[in-house]
Amino acid sequence: MKIGKRALLLAAMLATLTMVLAACSSGTSSKDKTATAGAGGAKTPAAGATTAATKAATGAAGSITVKKGDKIKIGISTTLTTDNAELGIPIRDAALLAIKTKGTIKGFGIEGDPQDDGCAGPASVTAANKLIADGVVAVIGPMCSGGAVAALDPLSGANMLTVSASATNPSVTAQGKKNFFRTAWNDATQGAEMAKYAYTTLGKKNVVLVNDQSTYGKGLMDVFKASFTAAGGKVASEEAVTVGEKDFGPTVTKIKGESPDLVVFGGFIAEGAVLVRQLKDAGVTASFMGADGIADQKYIDQSGGAAEGSYVSRGPKPTDTKLYDAFAAAYKAEYKKDAGQFTEQATDATNIVLAAIEKVATVDGSGNLVIDRQKLIDAVAATSYAGASGQIDFDAKGDRKVVGAVNEIDQVKSGKLTRIQ
């Protein structure tokens, strides 16, 4: 029995470790890092097929050489497994579509190299290292803020141009990494806008905040709280849910006890949909507000009707939607699905990267393509691009400047997200 007990302890420690990892990160632990890349995506011939021998070589002077006849590789770091894959896979697909549309740069083909970053620190670092080893020219991603903060270490070490379409937490750009940019909006912008809307337009004074313990969700709620209380509102309590759980009974009971007039959620679809439904089941009558993490039809579908009436902030949106509509149509034509949350940012991120490559890449004497990493980063920093997600200009930290945009607020009406601001 001695061995048995030891095995038991071992197993228990393993379980504890997994849970701790799950709790520390955004709820998706390293358990998924061996998962099949490309899972769930049917239309991506490139997925997982790009791990062959590294063909591009990083030169000593911080440049990357793509040999004649080889393809330019663009890394895509997003989660393809875990429940958040319902956001991660469309991001990958949007990036792949942009690559496909671009076709070639100076006669060189382009291919995407998607890696599963688990939407969490450990797996995102693994994905980053894999992409560096694969010899990619730039990385679209990481998908989630927690993963980005961790993965920026190896990525900036390699002076790798990194543009995330969806990592929105203020901490990501607060690190001051020069190689990092994002087409996603900093949550500081969105969180403050949400608080303003809740307090001023909706007239809510007493709120409960719920986050999913992810860097994104927690960060967004922190910004909301600061702005909301500064405006004079009261945060009755701050709750959290665990990603992957489906029964939030005790949390709901506690919220009910607070009798708030608004429940604000920072997190993603899977938990948001369950939470709004269970609040309704428990008889909580307060309004529900979420952000871009749930701004998707799937949130409504999965809530089984309980999402009706929810307010959903989508982050700053261009006042002119012509480019967005064109992108959405192209996406739908390619994938037979509606373009989901973050896909327009993903296509913009990819297009900015491709344009920068086109600008700085030179063909050397033997017909190889040479790309200087620093010049590439500088080119992106100087970008002024009108994209599907609006006008994109980066500030010194790599965040988007708020120009020509207003924070979009939708409300779920008759089962559809309907823009009300």
């Binding site: 998924d32 429940d83 992957g244 949390t251 009910k256 679809i269 008889g283």
Partner: protein
């Protein structure tokens, strides 16, 4: 006061689920001294089977409206069948060949099976959560501020029923006694004429049936099925089994409720972000001070 009662009910609701899943861990550990880490995925597969069954009825008939009792019963039975089939296949392919290998080998094999099942479902569903059709009315019994959905009552009652049936099975039937005998001493059990391999399969099957059924009912309660949904309940149920004393049937049941209620109450005090911490502090404390669990029996020298 009413909030406390509501929290207690919340705890009993999820605790019953933990308890039913925990039995699978404890039974398999009993006979094999092995933690079947893929057990939570059987629960998940049950939830998906429930979804596909009920959704099928919804799309192709009006039986969900006319005879919900029947469609729910069919969903539960199918959930059990799918989980049992999977459990038997995994026992045969992933565990039995490793029965004489070092103990870590089947454990790792189990983690592999767990990842495999999760990714199969992720792929099969295109990473989309599945939403149960409305079979159970989302109406509730209300007593003052206390509110209990009918489906929640169903879940609570069914957990009790499953626990009771399992207890009778283990205590009163010949197969149940055989499972207990194999758990205690495999060689001597075979000297009694017990087919040890078959008994181990029975054990897997019984645990899986419980997990599959729990998956369906839980799926109806939370109204969704996702590929990752077995992970946390699986880990929690494992914790419950160890809390109660792994290998002990009453321990797994008590451990499940104990954990569910502790989590609910700690949510009130510390917020849900700390309830996992509370659960694992309990676990570590039990492992240090009472390694045989709260309700388990101390291993005798011979076992």
């Amino acid at each position: 006061m009413q909030e406390w009662i509501q929290l207690l009910i919340d705890g009993i609701t999820i605790g019953g689920v933990y308890a039913v899943i925990a039995l699978g861990y404890t039974l398999v550990y009993g006979v094999l001294r092995m933690i079947n880490f893929a057990h939570g995925e059987l629960f998940m597969m049950g939830a998906f089977t429930g979804y596909y069954t009920l959704n099928g009825f919804e799309k192709h008939s009006s039986l969900n409206d006319s005879v919900p009792v029947l469609t729910i019963a069919i969903a539960i039975v199918l959930g059990m069948v799918v989980a049992v089939t999977l459990a038997l296949v995994m026992e045969r392919i992933a565990y039995r060949p490793l029965r004489r290998a070092p103990r870590l080998a089947p454990l790792i094999s189990a983690i592999g099976v767990s990842i495999l099942l999760r990714n199969i479902m992720l792929r099969a569903t295109n990473a989309q959560g599945k939403v149960y059709p409305k079979v159970f009315p989302r109406t509730a019994v209300e007593i003052g501020e206390i509110r209990l959905l009918y489906v929640q009552i169903f879940l609570i009652v069914l957990s009790f029923v499953f626990l009771g049936l399992l207890y009778l099975f283990i205590q009163r039937t010949k197969a149940g006694v055989a499972i207990r005998a194999v758990a205690e001493d495999r060689d001597t059990a075979s000297l009694m004429g017990i087919n040890v391999d078959r008994t181990i399969m029975t054990t897997f099957a019984v645990g899986a049936a419980l997990a599959g059924a729990a998956g369906v009912v839980y799926g109806m309660f939370v109204t969704t099925a996702t590929s990752g949904m077995g992970f946390i309940p699986g880990i929690k149920a494992f914790t419950a089994a160890v809390l109660g004393g792994i290998g002990s049937v009453p321990g797994a049941m008590a451990g499940g409720y104990f954990l569910g209620i502790s989590e609910a109450i700690s949510t009130k005090f510390f917020g849900a972000q700390y309830k996992d911490v509370v659960a694992f502090v309990l676990l570590v404390a039990v492992l240090i001070f009472r390694p045989w669990g709260l309700f388990g029996k101390r291993e005798d020298k011979r076992a």
